[in-house]
Symmetry: C2
Subunit: 100 residues, 2 copies
DNA sequence: TTCACATATCGAGATTTATCAATATGTTTG
DNA sequence: CAAACATATTGATAAATCTCGATATGTGAA
């Protein structure tokens, strides 16, 4: 973790929706319905569910999630036509360690 | 700590200078010369030193520090004509706990 | 009380971000 | 392959942030 990377993460955390997504993804089963095909949340939650819950447009959420992945806050996994997002606890810890 | 407060802190952390200030204030004696009147860094570092080190204008730094104090990242103490700033470890911990 | 210095606030222009609708790209299924 | 669905990218506009110089306020010293 360095200052530049930490600041990029800070940017992601400067918006309520983006921060909220990270909170939701702590406990997907509490905040999202089960997936149709996948029977677990091991790889997180699909973009559509996050988009619906956020209330923002599909393009906005897609951009948010892409950026959050780029700076290491999220891990994206593709299964068929769906992209699943989960928290990247490793980067999150590096960030909080850097701050502390 | 709640989402709104955490996002305000995120905003502070979305700028390299502001994040850097927090890093500098971890070890003031490593990054700043000793104060003339005060012989310690118990209350942190005066605005002028932070401003000089940052290279930004006095007004910009003053605004940054004020905002960082408002959202609880810094504690400000006045001694005579100087304001000293130090990290507010309590809020920082609440923030990292909230994120984790 | 006046001067000098430390910090805060104001007003403004340049840059960045928020957010959308429209469109494009992937991927499965019929 | 064509249709349908999931996600990504583009282009645009409104809002927010960055940053400064100028100015105001607060405080100790002469």
């Amino acid at each position: 973790m360095n200052l530049k990377k930490a600041t990029e993460i800070g940017k992601c955390l400067s918006n309520q929706t983006r921060f909220q997504v990270l909170e939701w993804l702590k406990e997907p089963e509490k905040h999202f319905p089960p997936h149709e095909t996948l029977k677990h949340f091991n790889d997180g939650v699909c973009v559509t569910y996050i988009q619906e819950k956020s209330g923002l447009s599909q393009s906005t959420i897609s951009t948010y999630l892409t950026n959050m992945e780029k700076c290491g806050l999220l891990i994206s996994t593709r299964h068929g036509k769906w992209s699943y997002l989960k928290r990247n606890e490793k980067t999150i810890k590096q960030f909080t360690d850097f701050l502390t």
